[in-house]
């Protein structure tokens, strides 16, 4: 395993930030204590924004958007299904990139972010699969079909579960982090497969509603609330990731003086 991380360090050494340059923020961000204190200040604002945006998008999508000409009202599941699936995949990239940063720059905090991202991503993948199954019943007549998109999303769920399980498979935190990071990186192969699955194996799942390269394939009145929901899910993801990362910081830094002071202060209040 260590030869792999040495290989990555060598590969990226050209872009390694220099300690005394504009990259200081990068190193500060790597300090668990700095992150814990700063994220505590961000948290209320991000949470408030997430709540407002999600409430707006949900009410707009469920009560105000027009119904679909062919699918009727069942199509409204799109307002949670697509954002959840979106974040399940973005979250996987975030987890894999955090793992890569850990392997290359040995930044403590990035491994904690990687570990925190796994259960959140798993929950979002579950939401995408569940709402998809419920949507499938009135639309396709079946809850579950071994369609390429659905199967590759199920593999994504297993990848998340694998990263979570590997965290507990080693006695050494460092070994567990490295193994998880490598599994996460190898698993990114699945993401483009998920993306392309609706085009490569065109069976039941409808093709992508939103593409970066072309206009959305739905009416603006339906599309706008979906966009709001995606932004809301991103904000929610940030809140969940910060909360889980903060706990991981407390768990790994519990012997340090700043955590002990924090705990004493909390116990006293």
């Amino acid at each position: 395993m260590s030869w792999l991380s040495r290989f990555f360090s060598k590969l990226f050494s050209k872009w390694l930030p220099k300690e005394s340059s504009n990259w200081q923020w990068f190193y500060r961000l790597g300090s668990p204590r700095w992150f814990y204190q700063r994220s505590g200040q961000w948290l209320p604002w991000v949470s408030l924004a997430a709540l407002l945006v999600l409430a707006t998008g949900l009410v707009w999508g469920l009560a105000f958007a027009p119904e679909d000409a062919r699918q009727g009202n069942s199509f409204r599941i799109i307002y949670i299904h697509v954002p959840a699936a979106f974040l399940a995949q973005s979250g996987y990239f975030i987890m894999a990139i955090a793992g890569a940063i850990g392997l290359i720059w040995k930044m403590k905090i990035s491994y904690m972010v990687m570990k925190a991202a796994a259960p959140i991503g798993a929950a979002l993948t579950f939401i995408a699969l569940f709402t998809g199954a419920v949507w499938g019943k009135p639309t396709w007549g079946a809850y579950w079909v071994w369609d390429a998109r659905i199967t590759s999303m199920l593999i994504l769920l297993f990848l998340y579960a694998g990263v979570m399980a590997l965290q507990y498979a080693y006695h050494s935190v460092d070994a567990a982090s490295k193994a998880s990071a490598i599994l996460a990186l190898v698993g990114t192969v699945n993401i483009p497969i998920i993306n392309k699955s609706v085009d490569w194996w065109y069976t039941l799942h409808q093709p992508a509603t939103i593409k970066l390269t072309s206009a959305p394939s739905m009416h603006m009145d339906m599309f706008m609330p979906l966009l709001v929901m995606i932004v809301g899910f991103y904000l929610f993801y940030a809140v969940a990731l910060i909360l889980h990362t903060r706990n991981e910081i407390l768990r790994r830094e519990r012997k340090t003086s700043w955590v002990r002071e924090l705990a004493t202060a909390k116990a006293g209040s």
């Binding site: 009202n73 949670i80 407390l250 116990a267």
Partner: protein
């Protein structure tokens, strides 16, 4: 609103059961994702402060033992 009344919004011309169960499960999962770590955080901090308390108790006990020992010998 797109629907004529609240009953129509809930029923969604027969699709309500699918839409609302999806919404309920999603919201429950999302709430769990933010509430569980908040409880965990409290638990972790309590654990640390218990450890500190226990350590202080041990140190205090060691000190009192060290103080009382020479007394016993002098008696």
């Amino acid at each position: 609103m797109y629907f004529e009344n609240i009953a129509a919004l809930i029923n969604m011309s027969g699709h309500g059961v699918y839409v609302w169960s999806s919404v309920a499960v999603t919201l429950a999962a999302m709430l769990w994702l933010v509430i569980a770590p908040l409880f965990k955080q409290r638990e972790l901090l309590q654990e640390v402060s218990r450890d500190i308390q226990r350590q202080q108790d041990r140190e205090l006990a060691a000190k009192t033992a060290a103080l009382s020992e020479p007394n016993e010998e002098s008696n």
